[in-house]
Symmetry: C3
Subunit: 138 residues, 3 copies
């Protein structure tokens, strides 16, 4: 069995974090599937998904540290081709990745108590975003 839903939202731009857990939890409960794996996919090449403890400190730390590891700048090959100032956005998104899957049982996500699913906007401007949620199981 498989059920699919989409989560759509707008972001405020680079470094914007969003907690997707409530909507993923709801997708699982509404699916009618008792146990399985829910796959979460960020559409686009300048956004990412992952898990983190959802609290204001880490919501600031994660984009800050990605900027430290892969800093904004005009020196990227991508910039020389496209001049849109978001070379670091692409590389940060690729490093974190757009794809994650979470197991569930009895229609409940098997996350840790302090583990939530986030979406990170890596692009340099506000964007409309789509996350595709696929509930698979039996």
């Amino acid at each position: 069995m498989m059920q699919r839903t989409r989560i759509t939202f707008s972001t405020s731009g680079h470094g914007a974090m969003r907690d997707l857990t409530p909507e993923i939890r709801e997708a699982v409960r509404a699916s009618g599937i008792e146990a399985g794996v829910v796959h979460v996919f960020a559409v686009g090449s300048t956004a990412a998904v992952g898990t983190i403890e959802w609290e204001p400190g880490l919501a600031k730390d994660l984009p800050e540290n990605l900027d430290r590891l892969i800093p904004p700048g005009r020196h990227y090959g991508h910039e020389q081709m496209w001049h849109d100032g978001n070379g670091h956005s692409h590389l940060q998104a690729t490093l974190l990745g757009p794809s994650i899957a979470i197991p569930f049982e009895r229609r409940e996500l098997l996350l840790g108590q302090w583990q939530q699913v986030f979406h990170l906007e890596c692009d340099v401007r506000p964007r409309q975003r789509t996350v595709i949620v696929t509930v698979m199981g039996e």
Copy 2:
């Protein structure tokens, strides 16, 4: 078809690596499923899973290099909120990620000869850990 098992173990703290491959291989063999994908998920926000060549050199290199990229320290926003000294643990775990899937056929994992599945403890103290293994296929 779907079969689920849990792997539970304790870790010695930050940087502890564990080879999960034997237990994942056994979960696949015991599932009765011939071919498919096995999903592996680290429960908690300060641990990660991935693949690596399982040998002592890399088991030391991986946590050392994560500490170089995201060093321990008291300067993280997470620290200012919670004072538990594990801001870097959270960020390292998020960067590596808690979710991986491996294909299998004839009940055998399709890993490379030198490719194993590891669990990495990123937290600063010994922990009890759970890894959820979901075998899916036909």
Copy 3:
């Protein structure tokens, strides 16, 4: 339902990027499965898969920035064990990861317009590579 195909190719060595999207798209179309998730797995411990905007700038930026974060060198524990000069290759591959999944509908991948699936050779010499593609759905 599940269908599996393999993509095999040779690489020119460290930093070689390959666009896997056409072959993954064809695997989905040929599977006879209408909607689901396609899982993509890089066999071996010195290669990775992910998504990126496929253009020459980023195809250069990604391996360059991985080399900046995890530089080539003889100081890795892996090197002291094996003397094959590819400690950084292993760590880069582990950081990016070998496993990704992409949703599809009506036999079409639900990627962003500028989002493609790549394979990255991290090893220091040309290699024969296998990517395992598993189409799952209904």
